[in-house]
Symmetry: C2
Subunit: 341 residues, 2 copies
């Protein structure tokens, strides 16, 4: 299984500077020979192309980006690419990109605003625009990022920036109505990251809808919005005597369900559990998870389309696009059992 690296002797790629030096012309002449041939003397062009071919140089997107300011590439940044929630956004963005001849690259910010800023900085010159899903950056930093290159937000709003968001007002109302119809008089919200805009929107919506129904609502957390956050969230919710736990997202809800099972707490007989996102696992597990479904694929598609229109200047486009949400009622929610069991 041990062998030598066959590729070690590959010379470094020739650059435009190498071609210019070898051809005895300016780098701008090399560039024009490839991108604006009509602006270069015929003999010079032939000479440059011959040198480029001999050196193995090919004009590339980086060169074209410098020349034209366009790359035909867009980037989608997500806070946790291991969360299947983002699969829908990615799929939608890919379809919209493919439909308009754009290449989509993806970046994972790992829930880290510094990593997000770094990806914006590194990828900025290589792309025509960004879609930022669930951006964790502060408004000021978002606006700074939007100066050199267009960007569209998904499930994050920021004044003056285009965005595609889920209708959490209606979504949280659906959740609260469902819990109320099952006899719940209160619920806890197992919250996610403090920087999450949609997390904040979810809590505001839940609290408002709960108040309208005369239900007590309490926010717990923040918890890591993955399976890992489950034990702490479940323990706190059980400690608070909750009959219903609404979780920041499905991944956290799965972790909560696992912990409840370990503790012998029955779902939904002892406690109901609700998620947000409707990732594919939600319908597969037992009990299957009641969760708020978003139109993630449409969100990704509309975000790339908005970015595209944005580039070609159509100021009549809406700044904020709100997509409907739908509660998927499954087996993790049930009637509150009255009296001793």
């Amino acid at each position: 299984m041990m062998a030598r690296m066959a590729q070690q002797r590959r010379p470094s790629r020739p650059t435009i500077v190498d071609v210019a030096r070898e051809a005895g012309v300016a780098t701008s002449t090399v560039s024009r020979a490839f991108t604006r041939p009509e602006r270069v003397n015929h003999h010079t062009r032939e000479h440059v192309l011959a040198v480029a071919e001999r050196l193995g140089y090919a004009p590339n997107p980086a060169a074209r980006a410098l020349e034209t300011g366009r790359t035909n590439t867009v980037a989608l940044l997500v806070p946790d690419i291991t969360n299947p929630y983002f699969s829908g956004v990615i799929t939608g963005a890919e379809r919209a990109a493919a439909a308009t001849g754009l290449t989509l690259v993806l970046g994972d910010t790992q829930e880290n605003p510094a990593q997000e800023a770094e990806l914006l900085r590194r990828l900025g010159p290589a792309v025509d625009g960004f879609v930022l899903a669930a951006s964790r950056l502060a408004d000021d930093n978002l606006h700074a990022a939007a100066q050199p290159v267009p960007l569209v937000l998904v499930n994050r709003a920021s004044p003056g920036l285009a965005c595609v968001v889920a209708d959490f007002d209606s979504g949280t109302q659906q959740i609260v109505d469902h819990l109320a119809s099952l006899g719940h008089r209160s619920f806890v919200f197992a919250g996610g990251p403090a920087e999450s805009w949609s997390g904040a929107r979810r809590w505001v919506g839940l609290r408002t809808a709960g108040r309208r129904r005369g239900m007590r609502a309490k926010r717990l957390g923040p918890y890591t919005p993955t399976l890992d956050g489950g034990p702490a969230a479940a323990d706190a919710a059980v400690g608070a005597g909750a009959t219903a736990i609404v979780c920041h997202n499905d991944m956290l809800a799965f972790g909560v369900l696992q912990r409840l099972a370990q503790r012998g707490v029955r779902v939904p007989d002892d406690v109901s559990v609700v998620g947000f996102d409707d990732v594919f696992t939600s319908a597969l597990i037992s009990p299957s998870l009641t969760t708020l479904a978003e139109r993630t694929e449409e969100a990704g598609r509309r975000a790339v389309e908005t970015l595209r229109r944005h580039e070609v200047h159509r100021p009549e486009e809406p700044l904020v696009l709100v997509l409907p949400t739908e509660l998927k009622i499954r087996s993790s929610t049930g009637q509150v059992l009255v009296g001793p069991q």
Copy 2:
């Protein structure tokens, strides 16, 4: 919710050509003013920097890439970013990249060799190297892609190219031994895409191990390696009278389990189901899935490390790195029930 696009009036980004024109110097002089200041006359440099600042031009990675041939960025391409199997590879690659100051970008080839080739072409000039996970490209195309820029394969081998692969010889032996110990005398393999190298390795391993045990093995498919492939695979397996179905991957296995449940076929009483990958959903569903776990995070990490070493010329590194696999025995496999039930 309707508003005007605030970003529309942003002018296009100034390019190095704009700065050169405005400053009255060659683009190569602008480039050197930023990247090799010692090679530019002091006054010229001050002038160029002042013009650049006035125009809002900043030297960028694309410019540095042209100048130095380095971008400090690596790309990881995967065939289906919505498959949580790749989460581990991505996480490991991200960690290794961060540890060496590299930025990782991701591309989704959507199981399409043409899309994979397009991403290689588009991203090539913007990165220092590629990690290709489960590449669907033919050997010839892989070798052509490896000429201008280093690449390392994950779960794909190709002569002369560095790769990190799972030990499917041992893994398939573990699966077959497990099924044999439960009394199974035969099994079917619900195969994935024809272009999948690991799919081919899995089938060869299963068949060989089965032969050693005196078990009959039959390959069915190819099936789409997602939930969508489940119905056809399950129906064909039931039609073939299988007592055990080994699936190309966990996502296909989930689809098979769903279909079997719809048909009233009990798992594992009537039929056992095995997957490959051990994605997070496998432990959460009911029945939980028996599946072959790979060290995906280690694979991603080692691939980026290999790419890094590859760049800095350490020919003593192994060309092929084989990582252990481990069968996770859960509830979807059981004894063959003998006689009428």
